[in-house]
Symmetry: C2
């Protein structure tokens, strides 16, 4: 591409290709004098090594892949930010793939990674990932994998998550202490590890405060926002409607906001809401929304650091690291607090 390669460089310098290569890699076999000349010429001609040739030869890509369900979502955007920071420091390149919560996409993406395109993979599973066979296959070809946030239950791989159980508990308790008696739990996918753990925390909090768990208060939503709003409108319009909402993802809180608006239900007077959210602009959200905020940037950073440790030590996830970070509850409105 660039047209300027080792061959041209060496011709220009009157040296052999291998000497130039060694000089550029600061080999002890090359005299200081020659090194200086080579470096100067490389700089002058703006030489950049061909990454494909190097990758082929060294069987190394200096590239990692990040596979996430979506990007127009502050959590994942911040996580990528953390990942990029670490990758850049290590001199690695980052390939980004979006699955759009579609298992087929996830599967084919992972398959394409099999040829040695990347030295490691960071992934957060999509909502309907039922099997992890594709990931096991990839892993067996020797590619280290770190899961973050949405992790599989059935694979012995390093993971970086937050305290989903605890924060589910705290969120629910927060609503109970604010006076709620009937708290609905909104989730998108029953498969997700996060969904499940948050729900366990929800159930535990109900139990602690002697509130009977009602399966009808667990609302399984979809990725279709319009359908979700309709579903929630029905939920909130019924006689025995909830007085508290715990949204396990941000967009469900937003759909709740829309649905309440449509049927003139006042937040927080008639309905209290708490939600997972990583909007930097959370303070501009309807002030009645309290939020659970995950350390998204740190999750990205930790995951990437873990992955690079595996890449460098060539341990392909045999060692099971499980990093768990803490979320924080941010109260937006004192009237919600007891």
């Amino acid at each position: 591409m660039s047209g300027i390669n080792l061959k041209k460089l060496s011709q220009e310098l009157g040296l052999s290709i291998s000497s130039v290569s060694k000089a550029l890699r600061d080999s002890y076999e090359i005299s200081a004098e020659t090194k200086k000349r080579v470096l100067a010429m490389a700089e002058k001609l703006n030489y950049q090594p061909n990454p494909f040739a190097r990758g082929l030869r060294k069987n190394k890509s200096t590239t990692i892949a990040v596979v996430i369900p979506e990007i127009a979502n502050n959590f994942f955007a911040l996580a990528i930010d953390g990942i990029q920071l670490v990758a850049q420091k290590k001199g690695y390149h980052v390939l980004t793939y979006l699955t759009h919560e579609d298992f087929q996409n996830e599967e084919s993406t992972i398959k394409h990674l099999q040829g040695g395109r990347v030295d490691g993979v960071l992934i957060s599973l999509c909502g309907d990932t039922a099997s992890v066979k594709h990931l096991i296959d990839l892993h067996q070809t020797g590619v280290p994998i770190v899961f973050f946030d949405r992790v599989p239950e059935t694979m012995e791989c390093p993971t970086v998550t937050t305290d989903d159980y605890e924060s589910g508990f705290k969120a629910t308790e927060h609503l109970i202490l604010a006076g709620c008696k009937k708290i609905a739990y909104l989730c998108v996918s029953g498969f997700l590890s996060t969904t499940q753990k948050r729900m366990m925390g929800y159930e535990a909090a109900l139990e602690k405060y002697k509130i009977v768990f009602d399966p009808k208060m667990v609302i399984q939503c979809s990725n279709d926002n319009i359908a979700n709003v309709a579903l929630l409108r029905k939920l909130l319009a019924r006689k025995n409607r909830p007085d508290g909402i715990f949204a396990s993802v941000e967009k469900l809180a937003i759909s709740t906001y829309y649905a309440s608006n449509e049927i003139k239900l006042k937040i927080p007077q008639q309905l209290k809401v708490i939600s997972f959210s990583n909007l930097r602009t959370a303070s501009l959200l309807s002030p009645s929304l309290s939020t659970i905020t995950q350390p998204a940037f740190e999750i990205g950073k930790e995951s990437a650091e873990l992955l690079f440790r595996m890449i460098e030590k060539k341990t392909f996830g045999n060692r099971i690291d499980r990093v768990v970070l803490k979320s924080s509850l941010i109260e937006r409105n004192s009237s919600v607090k007891k």
Copy 2:
């Protein structure tokens, strides 16, 4: 890496390497029978071609780079979404790089792209990019470049932008019609094409309504949010304070919101605000904020399509395409509207 390559495949099948290669690429030279056998075996052994070998041989990476200032920002996240959509459809991989509004970063990133790692580059310049020499160098090595949103003035390359002048005009007019007499324009970097064009629209609107342009009402902010809030607090506390704010980027509207809050200035009663914003959750923003929303997803899509057209036709941006999309003004509060 994967361990399974053409050599192994061909041994398994009792064929030559090149026949297997041709069969996999559906060459007319290979019998249907053989093709079927090869395909079956490739499937069975989970063969994936080595991208580095192929890239080296064909001098093609099937990869593009996206270089953006930041990602935890809905505009760029949505743009990436659009880019990924197109890239995925074309079977391309996407390398993402963040400059964090730092010119040094941008420069070294572009330099690293010189070795043939990518077949094309999509870039939105960082705030302090004064020179585009690094981009001209890259371009001259034959890598097509498309600029989106933040584009250089001095380079003959395809660009995809929005109607910054018009939307700057409309935003300002919106405030004027809402009764504002002293409108401040908030921007981050004077170098940016977007900043400049929006400001030209701002000035034109003032002129149309016979409001004298006051240079002191152009507030140059930084990337430091805390410093910005302090700066705005001072602006809003002074006697001759503005009664309208036009924020050329979302985060400055947020800083305005904080600053007003601190000095108990009521929005929109005492201060009307309009801002560029691409938050999906904009309706949850303080309802007094009207916004100008760019078609971020479409910008990404258009840019990528333009780039792929160049890659496929091997025109390296000699042809000058300038796509301009339309932003939309979304009024959040009728009290702001006249």
